[in-house]
């Protein structure tokens, strides 16, 4: 059960990477990376998951006293939040770059952007 989520996450990463590494269009690359990012986030969340427990929010259902035995690990959840936001930032930045690149050079093909090499 746990490894399904995790496995899906890994598969998503690999799929995303495959897309990112084989597509030449920068926009497609960005989309592929988003897929891979999602995979990473899924893996992150899956790691904190504990079978049969609930979300780490204390309310009527889970009192502070029982928390230790009732909630799942909250840390990955906190981490994933950060990871998502950062991923979003990077994606936005890449989009900007893609736009700028298109504006300046009129290309969106990464393999044509080779004026710096060797």
């Amino acid at each position: 059960m746990d490894w399904i989520a995790m496995g899906t996450g890994f598969t998503l990463i690999l799929m995303g990477l495959y897309g990112a590494l084989t597509n030449r269009n920068i926009l497609r690359i960005i989309v592929s990376f988003t897929v891979a990012d999602t995979g990473v986030n899924l893996v992150l969340v899956a790691v904190g998951y504990m079978h049969g427990r609930t979300a780490p929010i204390l309310d009527e259902a889970v009192s502070a006293a029982q928390a230790v035995t009732r909630i799942i690990d909250p840390v990955p959840q906190a981490l994933v939040l950060t990871a998502i936001v950062i991923g979003l930032g990077v994606t936005a930045l890449m989009l900007t770059y893609a736009y700028k690149l298109y504006e300046v050079k009129g290309i969106l093909d990464i393999s044509k952007c080779k004026d710096l090499k060797w």
């Binding site: 890994f10 495959y18 084989t22 230790v68 930032g89 736009y99």
Partner: protein, 232 residues
């Protein structure tokens, strides 16, 4: 083709690393030391019902500060990049009018969305959700408006003021933490209040509110900036 094959092989190898990770993964049956501490102490130390929020804002507040900075940074970069080059160029093509449904629907929905957003970030320490989620929701209202009228302009000035003020408040509350509480970003500069109440958990709701505003502003700023590229 060779490239595809090479990539495939490489990913196969990477996959084997992942498989190794997966195989070696044994779910914990007990909370580990750190998680146990959070489970046991959050309520009384921080006073936040949502442990994740406590972690995000307080225990790992520095991460969050960084996170907020990431957004600020991204927005700034986008602003900087897109502001250079051609500005205020006249629209060169006629946009098709957005549908009646969309226009009317958004008029109805935007206030509701904003309200929901505010709710989500104000209650971040009690219920699922928080500043980031709330901010994203608020930004979705902006998105909706943009969809309705691609030429709609939001005040950059306002956005950046909101951004900056929110950021400054976050940093300032962090610094206040050094002065009046246990350390940088300690949320207990205000009293932790009554567990489960809106105004509890110290400065968390305040911070989360500003985070919400900030995130909303930043997303809006990014959206706006990107949307403005449509002009050309």
């Amino acid at each position: 083709m060779i490239r595809r094959f090479a990539v495939f092989l490489l990913l196969l190898a990477l996959g084997s690393i992942f498989v190794n990770l997966l195989m070696g993964y044994v779910p914990d049956s007990e909370l580990n030391l750190t998680a146990r501490y959070y489970a046991e102490h959050t309520a009384q130390d921080i006073g936040a019902a949502n442990i994740v929020t406590a972690i995000v804002i307080t225990y790992r507040g520095l991460d969050t500060l960084g996170e907020v900075t990431v957004l600020f940074l991204t927005a700034t970069i986008i602003g900087m990049v897109l502001s250079q080059g051609q500005k205020h160029r006249a629209l060169q093509r006629q946009l098709p009018p957005s549908g009646e449904l969309l226009t009317t629907g958004s008029r109805l929905l935007v206030p509701l969305i904003l309200l929901l957003g505010a709710y989500v970030f104000l209650n971040g320490h009690l219920t699922p959700g928080g500043g980031f989620q709330g901010g994203a929701i608020i930004a979705s209202a902006a998105l909706l408006l943009l969809l309705t009228d691609p030429l709609r302009r939001f005040s950059h000035r306002l956005i950046s003021v909101v951004e900056s003020v929110s950021g400054l408040v976050f940093v300032a509350s962090g610094v206040l933490g050094i002065l009046y509480a246990g350390g940088f970003l300690d949320s207990r500069i205000l009293s932790t209040g009554t567990f489960g109440a809106l105004f509890s958990a110290g400065v968390i709701p305040v911070i989360y509110s500003f985070v919400g505003l900030k995130v909303g502003a930043e997303f809006t700023s990014m959206l706006t900036n990107l949307a403005e590229t449509e002009q050309s």
